[in-house]
């Protein structure tokens, strides 16, 4: 049981999860802003779906308590946006995460037909952030605690169990999708990216040569499968962690360039920050702060 105790409960730095909180909440805000112009079409009575409310009571659905009307959807999305801003600033961090989870989950209940995997990730990570110590650094919560004399100059080490749950969730996501792909002929024969690059609706910027030759199509198909599988498995091996994360970032940047899947790839890249060991996360946060202050001085 020692490994269990060390993994979930050995006190670790919180700067990494705080950095993740900031990046993640920026994406959360962007996601809410993207929904705003189409609010009435997606979450209104005269929209693309008709929602009559939940069949069974659900704790994470505000439409269990309020009628599914455009007026109610409007304040739910506004509250969601507001909670995203508070989460980014780190004010009432845990409560903001819970409110963000509750409001997003409610909107997901209303209209499941417009959701992609990025939406699922946002919802699940908000659930975990509600338990986390992400507000213990780079936050207004900490600033206020310092002013009241209730915090030390350097952020205290904390138990990382909520961050571990995020890591396990992300690893499960990658393992699950790669395992699922093992059943697919197009993935086995190395032809999957042939199909994805010929879906008209997903086209973004042109990629010369790569998707027009069988050898490079096979290389991109199999390498993305290997990277996804590694992000679910090899990432737990200390020596492979950074190379696997870097290859994951490159994979997602490649997809972001060639395919139109708004925010999804950026959300996945943000998640990879949370996959760093807490000490590595702190080093990244401090490096970014150093970079920012050097630019300011220059």
């Amino acid at each position: 049981m020692n490994w269990f105790r060390t993994f979930f409960f050995r006190k670790e730095p919180v700067e990494g999860i705080a950095l993740f909180r900031i990046v993640f909440s920026i994406l959360l805000i962007l996601n809410a802003l993207l929904l705003l112009p189409d609010l009435s079409n997606f979450f209104g009575e005269r929209g693309v779906v008709e929602y009559w409310g939940p069949g069974k009571f659900q704790a994470s659905n505000l439409y269990s308590f309020f009628k599914p009307t455009l007026a109610n959807s409007t304040w739910i999305l506004t509250l969601h946006l507001f909670s995203g801003v508070l989460l980014m600033l780190g004010l009432f961090t845990r409560t903001s995460a819970w409110v963000g989870f509750l409001t997003l989950s409610s909107l997901h209940h209303y209209n499941v037909l417009i959701l992609n995997s990025g939406d699922t990730v946002l919802r699940l990570v908000l659930f975990y952030l509600g338990f986390s110590q992400a507000g213990k650094a780079y936050s207004l919560d900490r600033f206020l605690a310092l002013r009241r004399g209730k915090a030390s100059i350097l952020p205290r080490l904390e138990m990382p169990w909520a961050q571990r749950l995020i890591q396990l969730q992300i690893a499960f996501l990658y393992f699950s999708t790669s395992f699922y792909k093992f059943d697919g002929k197009a993935w086995a024969y190395g032809e999957a990216t042939y199909y994805t690059s010929r879906l008209w609706d997903f086209e973004r910027f042109p990629v010369p040569y790569v998707f027009d030759h069988l050898w490079s199509i096979r290389a991109t198909t199999w390498s993305s499968l290997i990277i996804e599988f590694s992000l679910g498995t090899l990432i737990w091996v200390k020596a492979f962690r950074i190379p696997v994360i870097v290859s994951g970032v490159l994979l997602h940047l490649g997809i972001e360039y060639s395919m139109n899947i708004p925010l999804f790839e950026w959300i996945m890249i943000a998640l990879l920050i949370a996959m760093l060991e807490p000490r590595q996360g702190r080093a990244l946060a401090q490096w970014l702060l150093g970079l920012a202050s050097r630019r300011k001085r220059a």
Partner: protein, 185 residues
């Protein structure tokens, strides 16, 4: 186990972590088997109650091999007919696609398929309202059409990236007819 252990919050957090991880792994792993269905029973309600369900298909097990779009044929009270295309990414600029992608998800991935027939009446009513806004006429019937083409196996027919097939050469099928009443508009 003694009182000291039970008073330690790490003990309860540990139990929650194990329970949660088991729930996610057993309920959401993409391999359905009778054993899994039995094992999932104690966890299903937890996943549903807190909306922690997840599906990581992401081009799995096979990437889509269909280029498709939906079109509504709207019949008006005056006898005329108009066509309303559901938002089509391939007809939009790169920036427009970024903002409107959710319409593709709704129409092409979901409403188009027979599994989502329960959503067809709402989609037809939505198309009727859009058509009324556009023309000012009163719609009385909406037919939903799916148009599509299959991307063939590259070993049989390798087509270059960026190829297009004109709309009139796509397969098409009328899959739903909806009578529109006054209160639908």
């Amino acid at each position: 186990m003694n009182w000291k252990t039970l008073r330690d919050r790490r003990f309860w957090i540990g139990i929650f972590c194990v329970f949660h991880c088991l729930a996610v792994f057993i309920c959401e792993f993409p391999r359905i088997s009778p054993v899994r269905e039995v094992l999932a029973v104690p966890f299903r309600e937890y996943i549903r109650f807190f909306n922690l369900g997840q599906n990581w298909s992401m081009f799995a097990p096979e990437p889509s091999s269909i280029n498709a779009f939906l079109r509504a044929e709207v019949r008006f009270k005056d006898g005329s007919v108009d066509y309303h295309d559901f938002p089509r990414m391939s007809k939009m600029s790169v920036s427009e696609r970024f903002f409107k992608e959710r319409y593709r998800k709704w129409a092409v991935d979901n409403v188009r398929t027979d599994d989502h027939r329960v959503y067809w009446p709402a989609a037809a009513r939505y198309a009727a309202r859009r058509a009324q806004e556009k023309t000012g006429k009163v719609p009385i019937e909406v037919s939903l059409w799916r148009h599509w083409t299959i991307i063939k196996d590259p070993m049989k027919e390798f087509v270059p990236t960026g190829y297009r097939i004109p709309d009139e050469k796509l397969e098409k099928f009328k899959f739903h007819i909806q009578v529109i009443r006054e209160e639908d508009l």
